[in-house]
């Protein structure tokens, strides 16, 4: 069991799921019957990436609360890693969303609720990284970052619910309380891709935490030699 959740194994599992998801999306799921047509295939990675980005910010939110409760720097490190990965996945969401927008709506960008709130999420978490870079003292930096991460997270559910509460936007709502609106083969392809992206996020979090641990170890050893 331990081997199955090691970072290398997670990368392999994620890779398998993503490749299978992609094959299912192109070979098993039918071409969308709506006006989007073949460009709808972008959905099978675009939405899992978006959900994964929001999950990463959610973990950063939980880590921020855990840090403020315990003052343990391991939570600060987890928060930092999750925000960085959340931003990486957000960048992919924005770029693939723009490509899909051009195909479906004929424009690269529209100031509609989902896109605007997602852009705001990106700016907020970029500000989080900027904040971290200007505070030098470790504990103070971690405290400020944790408070900021909690405030920034307020925009995450707003992004998720933007298309549900403000239905006049261009962005479609696929998953609702009454179902997914997808037929069986599309749903299977989507769920496999979703699993793959989630595993990939976990694998990246584990590896990036290793990087942060090693950076601390290098700093400690340099101090030992310097002292």
């Amino acid at each position: 069991m331990k081997q199955l959740v090691s970072a290398p194994a997670l990368f392999v599992e994620a890779g398998i799921c993503l490749v299978v998801g992609l094959l299912l999306a192109f070979l098993y799921a039918p071409v969308d019957a709506s006006s989007m047509g073949f460009s709808q295939k972008i959905f099978f990675y675009h939405v899992p990436i978006a959900e994964t980005a929001l999950v990463a910010f959610g973990v950063a939110f939980v880590a921020a609360i855990a840090y403020l409760r315990t003052q343990d720097l391991k939570w600060d490190r987890l928060g930092l890693v999750c925000v960085r990965l959340g931003l990486l996945f957000s960048l992919l969401v924005m770029v693939t969303g723009m490509i899909w927008g051009k195909a479906a709506w004929g424009v690269w960008w529209a100031w509609e609720p989902r896109l605007t709130t997602f852009l705001l999420v990106c700016f907020l978490y970029i500000a989080y990284l900027v904040l971290r870079s200007v505070v030098e003292e470790e504990q103070r930096r971690a405290t400020y970052a944790a408070v900021f991460a909690i405030i920034a997270f307020i925009d995450v559910p707003m992004t998720f619910f933007a298309t549900r509460f403000l239905p006049e936007g261009l962005h479609p709502v696929v998953i609702t309380t009454s179902g997914t609106g997808m037929e069986g083969s599309m749903l299977v392809s989507f769920l496999v891709s979703m699993l793959g992206m989630t595993l990939l996020l976990v694998a990246f979090i584990r590896r990036d935490l290793t990087v942060e641990d090693l950076k601390d170890r290098v700093a400690d050893l340099k101090n030992t030699i310097g002292g």
Binding site: V31, G37, S39, H46, A103, V211, I225
Partner: protein, 59 residues
Amino acid sequence: MSIEEGAKFVAAAYAVILAVLVLYYFMSARRVNTLKRDVELLEQEVQRRPAGAGEAGGE
């Protein structure tokens, strides 16, 4: 929209996703290897230092 037109957008989107994710994978793997090597070298230096200091004191 025809399948050919749609395929161009789909190919572009998947190319961006795969390029970024694969690049990040290799960059982070390289970072881990570099840092592990740094830790090894620094640990060797830490171990060598007291021995070196002892030799220097004995001379």
